[in-house]
Every structure is written in structure tokens, then in C-alpha cells.
């Protein structure tokens, strides 16, 4: 218990320092405030065009798609706040930044991930929240306690699935010294695979995105369940619980791979 309090107090101070550091560069903040929402609103606009010009995708109307997209963006926004250091694993390995973390009597993965609380990333949440609120209204999502609880489970599970994917891909740098390009690919892949109904993809891809990299649990399966569509994946219990379970399993795997990589860490020069 005192261990948890200890880690929380360190996390709190890390977050305070990170916010202070980011406030040192206000112009940078403003540029993100303009860039990020533009990017995602452009994304939803594309969806609108696709659905308008053609027909609803696999029986998903625009409002359904907006709900799917918005739901996915919620955990995306949080991953950018909480897991952004994993995107820079390559740099940290090359520059020997794990040296200092290894010299402190705390878990290294904890220090690495919480060491930079990216509060600018909250900007990433803005489009997610706007699009989700719009879509929730459009599809008559009922804001009752049960649904809200499920929504929270889905967002947390989605955060874990995304976070562990970035952790694993970033940790590749422990072996190859390179992982930044892979991270770029993962960001793009995650965006595409959480934006459209999974059933659009061939069965093999669906299987991979369900069992190997359970990206389907981030937004597609829960959205199906929230929208009352026929379930593509039959499971006992509620889909929200499975999203959280998938997230926790992913996190355990990711943490093990990170630790394995850290053992291979070679530090840098002098």
C-alpha cells in the first residue's frame, strides 16, 4: 500500500514537472491546438464524403461510423497523454536515457512511461469528445449508469491495448536500435483499423486484429454492442469487460517484452 502511495506521489510530481516544462513553450502549445483538431475533423469529413458518395459501409450509416470513430478517438487521446514516451523509445535507447532510470530505485517502465505526462495530448481528446458527443446524440446513445460504466471500461481497455502496442513496437529498438518508423506505421494502422468496421477487412485480417493484436476490441466490437448490431464475435459477458480483459493481457505481454528488451540495453558511449 505504501508502495502504491510512493509511486503515486512520484507520478504526481512527474506530471507537475511535465506540465511546467510544456508551459515554458506556449507557442508550441498553440500550434498543436490548431493542428490536431484539424487533422481529426478532416478524418470525419472524409468519412462523410465516403458514405455520401457510396453507400453505407457494411450496413453502417454515417452516424454509426461517427460513433465508432469517436469511440476510438477517446482512447487515442488518452494514449497520447499517458503513453507518448513509448513513441520515443528509439531515441531513448540511442541516447542512453535508460541509464538514469536504471540508477533510481523505482520500476524502470513506470519511470519511462510516467516520466513525461503529455498534457498537450489532451488536445487530441478534443476532436474525440466532440465527435463522440455528436454521434452519441445522433444514434440515441442512452446516458444511463450502466452504459457510462461500460464506456469507461472500453476507454480504459482501449487505452491499455493501444499503449501496449506502442510499448511493444517501441521496445523493438532494444534489439534493432530502430523503431521510430515502426511507430509511425502503427499509429497509421491503428487509426485505419479503428475507424472502419472490422468486417470490411478479409477474414484473415479480422482474425489477426482480434486475437493477435486485439485492435478490434478498442472500438469495433464495443461499438457493435453499444449500437445493438448483430455481434460479429460471440462472447459471454459484456463486450466492455472483454475490452478491459484484452487491455490487461496486452499490458502484461507488453511489460514482459519491455523487460526482456531492457536486459539487452547496451547504454551509449561514455
Amino acid at each position: 500500500m505504501s508502495e502504491i502511495r510512493h509511486y503515486l506521489s512520484v507520478f504526481g510530481y512527474y506530471a507537475k514537472l511535465a506540465i511546467q516544462r510544456q508551459l515554458e513553450y506556449p507557442l508550441f502549445l498553440v500550434s498543436w491546438l490548431i493542428m490536431i483538431p484539424t487533422q481529426y475533423f478532416a478524418g470525419i469529413w472524409m468519412l462523410r464524403i465516403i458514405v455520401d458518395r457510396f453507400q453505407p459501409l457494411e450496413g453502417w450509416a454515417f452516424d454509426d461510423l461517427a460513433f465508432l470513430y469517436g469511440l476510438g478517438l477517446l482512447s487515442h487521446g488518452l494514449v497520447v497523454v499517458f503513453f507518448i514516451p513509448t513513441w520515443g523509445t528509439e531515441t531513448a535507447v540511442i541516447r542512453g536515457e535508460f541509464d538514469r532510470l536504471l540508477l533510481r530505485p523505482l520500476n524502470v517502465f513506470f519511470q519511462f512511461v510516467t516520466g513525461y505526462f503529455n498534457f498537450i495530448g489532451l488536445i487530441d481528446l478534443i476532436p474525440g469528445v466532440v465527435i463522440f458527443l455528436y454521434a452519441a446524440h445522433a444514434v440515441d446513445f442512452s446516458w444511463e449508469a450502466g452504459n457510462i460504466a461500460k464506456l469507461i471500461l472500453v476507454v480504459i481497455g482501449g487505452l491499455f491495448i493501444r499503449g501496449s502496442l506502442y510499448t511493444i513496437v517501441g521496445a523493438v529498438a532494444f534489439w534493432t536500435k530502430r523503431s521510430r518508423n515502426l511507430i509511425g506505421m502503427s499509429v497509421a494502422t491503428l487509426e485505419r483499423t479503428t475507424m472502419y468496421p472490422l468486417t470490411l477487412y478479409p477474414h484473415v485480417v479480422q482474425a489477426v486484429l482480434t486475437f493477435l493484436f486485439p485492435i478490434g476490441f478498442i472500438s469495433f466490437y464495443p461499438a457493435e454492442s453499444f449500437l445493438g448490431k448483430p455481434a460479429s464475435l460471440e462472447l459471454p459477458l459484456d463486450m466492455a469487460i472483454w475490452t478491459l480483459v484484452a487491455g490487461i493481457i496486452c499490458m502484461v505481454v507488453a511489460y514482459s517484452i519491455f523487460r526482456l528488451g531492457l536486459r539487452r540495453y547496451e547504454s551509449a558511449g561514455s
Partner: protein
């Protein structure tokens, strides 16, 4: 019991040999020519509590690699390490709590923020009580004078101030062993003086063990009671500075300035290196004859106006170690 025990330590790195040209680049992609290089090759030594030990050697001798293994950053390929009786790899958290580590070329301070913020963070990481934290900070301030710039952003500190800040940061949790990797690199005389003073004070008042790597032999001369000299990952000398220098460069020089021209006489236990006008250089072995004996012998035979005894140059002696073991 020694506070640091190192036995048969080995660290190997895999190096891929690269050749020039596109053809070779493609070949090395398919069939990389891997070579195993031993950065550290069978080191054994003990360090007692309260010692200040200089760990020196030419660039690439394996100094930093050793320090990184002793502090739990790197895993050794073979051999055993005990720091405060524990393995830094197996019990990293327990060991690093006892260690302070400063890398002269890198900082652990938050670049964008005032110096004090890093101390506050460390206070939480090491779970230091308010009272203790304040007392340590006061003590560090007495020696390092950090109060003057504790509210300045680290990016605006001079190199000397930053190094004092880094030293203070490494001492906040009152470690029993301090590892310093080139702590005086790039500093001016004043800052070097302050840092050496700090190391001496901590060692004297807290019996803190210090392991210091450096290329600055003044650091070694002024601080270290014992020297470990490594080259190519092997220990090549171990002992007090005097005895290493004495062993490698036993000769001293007696320089005599004559008041009038005279033929310098031979001496049985000293060799005339050269004579140039009114100056004569005698080389002698201090174990064979003392300077005063030689002077009294010569003073009867030569019109001496002035004289000086030159100690062997440490720099030369150390260079000699590197050369002969290279």
C-alpha cells in the same frame, strides 16, 4: 568486508564490421560479419569503504563500461559484482539506493526547470522526510554554494554551476558510494577546485567511498589514495599514485645553475643528462640516492648559484603505462 567486490568481470559486445562500398553494404546485410569484442576482460578488484579510488585509463579502456556494470546499468557477460554486499543486477533497487552517480558529460537535472525542482523530485523518488531533506540540502549548500542559483533554470547555469547542481542531486539521498565519471571535464580551475573540495569533505565527514574516473591527473593527485589503471579492459596497475609513478618513472632531475663556467663532474649514482652553458641536468634514482646527498656531494665540486629538483611528470608516467600495456 570490502564495499565493492569485483571478480573476473567480463563484458563482451557484438560489433558488426562494416566495409566501404554499396556491394559490401549489401553483403553485410545478408551475411553480417560479426565480431565479439571484449570491452572488459577479466577485471578483479576490491574497494574498501572510505577510500577514494581513481579509475583511470585511455579512451575506450573500459572505464565507463565497468562503472555501468557496478551501478546496475549493464549486465556483465561473466564474473561477479558485489556492491554493499549485493548484486547490482539482481537487487538493483536495493543497491542503487546506496549509490550516487554523476556522469560529467550528461546531466540528470531538468533542463527547462529551476534547479530546485529536480531536488524536489528526487526527494519523492527516494522518499526523504522533510526534515532530513532540508538538513542534507543545507549541508550540500555549505560545501557547494548552490543556494545562489537554486531558482535558476538549469539551461541558464554555467557548466561549473551545473556540475555542482549535479553533484548535489546525486547526494540528496545520502549515498554510501559515489561514482563520478569525469566530474571535472571542461571545468575552469575555480570550479575544479570547488568540486575536489566537495569530494574531500564528503569522504572525510561521511566516510563516503568515491570511485572516480578522470583524464585529469590533478584530480588523481589531489584526491585519490589509490589508483586502478585499466587498458584494453584489463587491470594493469593497482596501488597508490606515488608507488605507481615511482615504479614507472623512478628518475628525478637535479637542475643546477652555475655561477661560472665549470666542467660538471661525473657522479657514481647520478648521470649527467646534458650541460648547456651554465646549466647542468643530473638524472638520479631516488631509491639509490637522496636529493640532499647528491647536492652535498656536488656542492663541493661545483660553483652552484641556484638549483631545483624536478619530480617525474605524472602525465608522462601514465602515458608510459598506457603505451607499454597497449
Amino acid at each position: 568486508m570490502a564495499i565493492i567486490e569485483v571478480k573476473d568481470l567480463i563484458k563482451e559486445f557484438v560489433v558488426v564490421r562494416k566495409k566501404t562500398g554499396l556491394g559490401n553494404a549489401i553483403r553485410s546485410l545478408v551475411l553480417p560479419e560479426k565480431k565479439i569484442v571484449r570491452g572488459v576482460d577479466g577485471l578483479s578488484f576490491d574497494i574498501e569503504q572510505g577510500d577514494i579510488v581513481g579509475y583511470i585509463g585511455p579512451n575506450g579502456a573500459g572505464k565507463s563500461t565497468t562503472i555501468k556494470m557496478l551501478t546496475g546499468i549493464l549486465y556483465p557477460t561473466a564474473g561477479s559484482i558485489r556492491v554493499c554486499g549485493l548484486s547490482p543486477q539482481k537487487e538493483r533497487k536495493a543497491v542503487v539506493r546506496q549509490l550516487g552517480v554523476v556522469f560529467g558529460q550528461r546531466t540528470q537535472l531538468y533542463w527547462d526547470l529551476r534547479l530546485g525542482e529536480t531536488f524536489e523530485l528526487l526527494k519523492r523518488i527516494y522518499r526523504i522526510e522533510d526534515k532530513r531533506f532540508k538538513a542534507t540540502l543545507d549541508m550540500l549548500n555549505d560545501v557547494l554554494r548552490i543556494q545562489d542559483f537554486i531558482d535558476t533554470p538549469v539551461r541558464q547555469l554555467s557548466l561549473g554551476q551545473r556540475m555542482r547542481g549535479d553533484l548535489a542531486a546525486s547526494m540528496i539521498h545520502e549515498p554510501t558510494v559515489l561514482f563520478l565519471d569525469e566530474p571535472t571535464i571542461g571545468l575552469d580551475a575555480d570550479a575544479k577546485h570547488a568540486i575536489r573540495g566537495f569530494i574531500r569533505t564528503m569522504n572525510r565527514e561521511r566516510r563516503m567511498t568515491v570511485v572516480l574516473t578522470t583524464h585529469d591527473l590533478d584530480d588523481v593527485e589531489q584526491l585519490c589514495s589509490r589508483l586502478l589503471v585499466v587498458n584494453h579492459g584489463r587491470l594493469v596497475e593497482d596501488g597508490p599514485l606515488d608507488s605507481i609513478v615511482g615504479k614507472l618513472a623512478p628518475h628525478r632531475l637535479l637542475v643546477i645553475e652555475l655561477s661560472e663556467t665549470a666542467q660538471a663532474p661525473e657522479h657514481a649514482r647520478a648521470k649527467i643528462l646534458r650541460q648547456d652553458g651554465l646549466k647542468v641536468w643530473y638524472q638520479f634514482d631516488k631509491t639509490a640516492i637522496s636529493a640532499s646527498e647528491l647536492i652535498s656531494d656536488l656542492s663541493g665540486m661545483l660553483p652552484i648559484r641556484d638549483l631545483s629538483v624536478q619530480e617525474p611528470d605524472i602525465e608522462d608516467a601514465i602515458r608510459e603505462v598506457y603505451r607499454t600495456t597497449g
